[in-house]
């Protein structure tokens, strides 16, 4: 029985935060594939270019930051929404933010494209809870 390699995309301009998230995912889930983008536009481009790849290995999880210079997480979601349904179906998006602002949290919860809001830092306990 071959184990499916879980795929992740990090969209986050802070490299330190990416380091922490990657470590949490790897330590808890073992062999996984992570693509990280410090420039959100590049993340969108990547998702679009991968559209032809039919997904055989389950959905890809995106961890999306809110506060980024060129494109905020919310703007990223606006762009993502315009993609074909077939693309959108391949992803689960989580907002991963340092925000403790209730407005941000509710805005994430009410957005149909977002599965949930996760407060930084992403740690092993949180990963296990999500995917364990």
């Amino acid at each position: 029985m071959t184990r499916i390699t879980k795929r992740f995309i990090l969209v986050e301009d802070d490299e330190l935060s990416n380091f922490i998230s990657k470590r949490a995912l790897k330590l808890s889930l073992g062999k996984i594939h992570i693509d990280d983008f410090t420039i959100p536009e590049n993340g969108l481009e990547f998702i679009k270019s991968r559209s032809s790849h039919a997904s055989h290995d389950g959905k890809t999880t995106i961890f999306l930051d809110i506060n980024m210079p060129t494109l905020t997480g919310w703007e990223f979601l606006d762009e993502f929404e315009l993609f074909d349904q077939s693309i959108k179906d391949q992803y689960n998006i989580y907002i991963l933010s340092s925000s403790v602002n209730i407005d941000d949290i509710n805005r994430a919860k009410i957005n149909p494209l977002v599965v949930d809001f996760i407060e930084k830092p992403l740690n092993k306990a949180a990963v296990v809870k999500l995917f364990g």
Partner: protein
């Protein structure tokens, strides 16, 4: 008998007429309001003590019955006189008119409520009666109230911004610190990993410190405004700025051209003006078009009572349709390729506004950016004078 009765009645009537006339005169004379009437040739037919005294005191004018209104109107500000003339003409057509007139006599601000009523005889206008009373005090109080609510709204916005800063900019590095220290507590890490994690931890702590220092300098803006203002020379400020960042200027072959021929001096707070120039100049260099030497044009001009400064560059520009609202916001950044904290323009805007000015931006992607700053030169002293003189 019948005759004597007639006389008594007439006497009574005369007496009561005289009585009511004295009452009327007393009423008109004993008020601070200005009351006068004119005929259809714009000649004074009556006026009270208040007008007589005011004209004597302010314009050394001895007004007489039969004088033309222009004897007074010639003395006042031509714009105000024009306004008053057109209102008188309007009223002569039979309309009742009420308006507020603001004026400045010397440096004293004044606001009056003016009502002009046509005097009618057999449905024809035979003249006008005018009542002018001082509402300066109410007006100033109203202005003060308006200013207070604008200040309060601004303060509320600032508070909202601080909630955002706490959520994103203080919490960000803090979350990283939590993350790194959690891993460092794990006993199974290798020495190499430990080094890496410690490095990350230290970077996060420094990032947190930077935000705290930023917060401090933002909060300081509010207290510095009360510091002493002085006469500042624009050309000197530019010179100082260029000297302080000479390395960057030389490295990027920056061309700075200035034109302060119209105004080269402003009475203001030096640290703010210097910070505004520094931030706008370094912004233009930071966001310059690749492989093209940055050109920065700084100009000053005088328009009415305003001093207008413009900063124009040939840099990357910005999509104002997309980012317009956020351009002056705190911690908002628009380019990923260069280091920036998103503090510069926020500081510039806060400082300009603290000095009673306004700032606006015009920009197009790849076509450069132009900032326009307006300082109300009169305003800084005027607000104080208004309150001073009226009390």
């Amino acid at each position: 008998m019948a005759i004597s009765t007639d006389i008594t009645e007439r006497k009574d009537a005369e007496q009561s007429l005289q009585f009511s006339q004295s009452n009327l005169t007393a009423l008109i004379e004993n008020t601070d309001a200005i009351i006068y009437s004119i005929d259809t040739n714009f000649l004074y037919t009556a006026f009270n003590k208040s007008l007589r005294d005011k004209l004597k005191l302010n314009y050394d004018l001895d007004l007489k019955i039969g004088d033309h209104v222009n004897r007074f109107l010639e003395k006042i500000d031509p714009k105000e006189a024009r306004q008053l003339r057109s209102k008188l003409i309007e009223a002569m057509k039979g309309d009742r008119i009420k308006f507020e007139q603001e004026s400045t006599f010397g440096r004293v601000y004044n606001c009056s409520s003016v009502s002009i009523n046509p005097i009618l005889e057999d449905e024809t206008v035979i003249g006008l009666s005018c009542l002018v009373y001082d509402i300066t005090q109410q007006k100033l109080e109203q202005l003060q109230k308006e200013k207070m609510s604008t200040d309060l709204i601004q303060r509320n916005l600032n508070l909202e911004q601080f909630t955002f800063i706490v959520s994103h900019n203080l919490r960000g590095p803090t979350a990283n610190i939590i993350g790194f220290s959690e891993y460092l507590q794990d006993e199974n890490i290798t020495l190499k990993e430990q080094k890496e994690l410690q490095h990350g931890l230290s970077k996060s702590v420094i990032a947190l410190d930077v935000v705290i220092k930023d917060l401090n300098s933002i909060l300081q803006i509010k207290s510095e405004v009360n510091e002493k203002k002085e006469v500042i020379t624009f050309s000197k400020i530019v010179e100082d700025t260029i000297t302080s960042i000479a390395d960057i200027i030389n490295k990027h072959h920056v061309q700075v051209s200035v034109d302060f021929s119209e105004v080269d001096k402003i009475f203001s707070l030096k640290i703010y003006i210097a910070s505004i120039f520094y931030n706008l100049i370094s912004n233009s260099i930071k966001y310059c078009t690749p492989n093209e030497p940055p050109r920065i044009e700084i100009k000053s001009k005088r328009e009415n009572d305003k001093i207008i400064l413009t900063f124009k560059d040939n840099g990357l520009g910005i999509d104002l349709k997309k980012q317009g609202v956020k351009i002056f916001g705190l911690y908002n950044r628009f380019h990923s390729h260069v280091e920036g904290k998103g503090m510069g323009l926020y500081m510039v805007k806060t400082q300009v506004e603290s000095l009673g000015g306004t700032i606006s931006i015009a920009s197009q992607i790849n076509k450069g950016t132009k900032f326009t700053i307006e300082f109300d030169n009169q305003n800084q002293n005027d607000t104080n004078n208004k309150t001073l003189h009226s009390r």
